[in-house]
Amino acid sequence: MATKSLSEISLDGLWKNNPALVQLLGLCPLLAVTGSVVNAIGLGLATILVLVGSNLAVSLIRNHVPDAVRLPAFVMIIASFVTVTELVMQALTYELYQILGIFIPLIVTNCAILGRADAFASKNGLLPSVVDGLTMGLGFTVVLILLGVIREIIGQGTLFTNMDLIFGEAAVNWKIVIFNDYPDFLFAILPPGAFVAMGLIIAVKNLIDSHLDERAAANKEQVEAGSKRVRVTGKIS
């Protein structure tokens, strides 16, 4: 664990061990609030904030907390950061805070955050923990936004509705109407649509991974092609 470089940690968080696509953690907010891009970005930012903060704090106290009480301690830390985030959102983006509602406090129960605190931050130093929190949070947010894009286009036929809730007055005109006279496709807006879209995103990721594996295997074979042996009847090491 400790030998991982920062770039390896980043790759893990963003792709190889993506909390949403590989670990399948934090599915509840992931499926519930990704009805539009703005909700997805809002929840993603909140999650990044909590994840970085909790990883940082857990990493700082990792040598001072006895094993037996580490989980309650982690949960206390996470809950504090969620409260901070909630208050910040209440102050800066009140309307978005109202739309996301219960899912902001529910970040406490997002297993991705407790998972990173226990599996990574409690065993690693300050800098790797912060990088891990940031990249895991980014990986989560990217999937949230992707789901938001898919579901908003299919569900309502628009993109970037209400972006001014996060980005202020300048974003009022960001809304793109993709289909005119679009009858709302309720299935995509409701949670079942999120499940299907999520499944498709995971399928695409697995497809890309298997292509990468194949290419890596092909490269390897080319390197080893120098063998002169004609008959091979067993595994030669």
């Binding site: 006279d181 009858p183 496709f185 309720l186």
Partner: protein, 382 residues
């Protein structure tokens, strides 16, 4: 079917058989829907036929496309008619004047997601046609509930003309579709009765033009359910023909109708408050559901006792959802819910194999008990 080096087709045993192939069974079922489709067209106009054609074209193209993507033999599998059957059932189930994109979304979702993502024909745990139907019913409630055609005797003695049907279904402007279809669409008898029953008596409701026959001041072409009774009888005839041809056994349809009838007699005995049993059995998708949807050999239960439980479960669920639910009909949801339960029912209703003791149900309580049972079997066989 592999072609060997000499150019002959290798076919595995048994070489003498009844001639029943998937393709033939599917085609028989499709042909058995003809009376029902004819009745639907007679009472409600061309919409159903247009839907069926549109659904078939969509289904075959989707199936061909995804078979190609899955690297399966396209021509061979397309010929098994299963995609065509799903399309025909969906075309019948969808409202006759539904916009074209409703049909296309329902059919492509049922083909791609409900059938091929699970591994194609034989591997789908849910009835594809009903998955597609439930999807559009949940997604487009307005289009799915306001586009039911009224029987011809309620719209000046004629159904909507063929060209007008095409206009309504394929029009891109909502305004054209609405003005044309408003004159020819209305609520189904089940829905109408349910809403009227809250403040009218059964006698008053039966005076409504949708329910009244000529002795009650209505149309001579009506009996008691605005044409739907004849549609259901037509599907019943087609279903009985399939039963006679032994495409399926009597268990599922009979237990479904018996459970639905019993429920509506026991809980809905008061016709002033609830929809009477006659409407439950003879309106909506009851007969089509009992004979054509619930009997799907892939997603239904397979053991004899299991089939009875499965059919009865669908019947009870249809009654419950129709009576206390918000949707006008319930066959799709009832069938899908029982599809969930079918593998579980099958596990607990395994019949006794000849020469063996009664099958163990579920997990053995103790490992020792299991061993004793095995000994008994050996002893008997020995």
């Amino acid at each position: 079917m592999a072609i060997n080096s000499a150019g002959f087709v290798n076919i595995t045993s048994p070489h003498a058989h009844g001639g029943n192939t998937t393709s033939r069974i599917m085609m028989t079922v499709i042909l058995a829907t003809i009376p029902g489709v004819a009745a639907l067209t007679y009472f409600f106009g061309w919409g159903t036929l247009i839907n069926i054609v549109l659904a078939s074209v969509t289904a075959l193209s989707c199936e061909a496309l995804i078979l190609k993507m899955r690297k399966r033999p396209v021509g061979f599998i397309l010929k098994d008619n299963s995609a065509l059957l799903t399309a025909v059932l969906l075309g019948i189930a969808l409202p006759p004047l539904a916009p074209w994109w409703v049909t296309v979304v329902a059919v492509s979702f049922s083909m791609v997601f409900a059938k091929h993502l699970y591994g194609g024909l034989g591997n789908n745990p849910f009835n594809p046609a009903m998955v597609g139907y439930a999807l559009v019913l949940i997604s487009f409630p307005v289009q799915m509930t306001t586009t039911w055609a009224v029987p011809f005797f309620l719209s000046d003695g004629q159904t909507i003309s063929f060209s007008d049907s095409l206009n309504v279904i394929f029009s891109n402007s909502a305004a054209v579709a609405t003005t044309l279809s408003d004159a020819y669409s209305g609520a189904t008898p089940l829905d109408t009765y349910k809403h009227l029953a809250s403040n009218q008596t059964a006698l008053e409701i039966m005076q409504q033009p949708l329910f009244a026959n000529d002795t009650q001041g209505g149309s001579a072409s009506n009996w008691f359910a605005g044409g739907w009774e004849f549609v259901n009888i037509a599907f019943l005839i087609g279903g009985l023909a399939l039963l006679a041809l032994r495409i399926f056994t009597w268990h599922i349809p009979l237990s479904l109708l018996a459970a639905l009838g019993t429920c509506s007699l026991v809980f809905g005995w008061d016709a002033d408050m609830y929809v009477p049993w006659s409407l439950h059995i003879f309106t909506g998708a009851t007969m089509m559901g009992a004979f054509f949807i619930a009997t799907d050999p892939v997603s239904a239960s397979t053991t004899p006792l299991g089939k009875i439980i499965y059919g009865a479960g669908i019947g009870i669920l249809i009654f419950v959802i129709r009576t206390w639910g918000a949707y006008p009909d319930a066959v799709a949801f009832a069938v899908l819910l029982m599809n969930f339960a079918a593998p579980f029912i099958d596990t607990y209703t395994q019949p006794r194999t000849y020469g063996h003791v009664k099958a163990k149900r579920g997990m053995p309580a103790k490992p020792d008990a299991n061993k004793d049972a095995d000994k008994n079997v050996d002893h008997k066989e020995g």
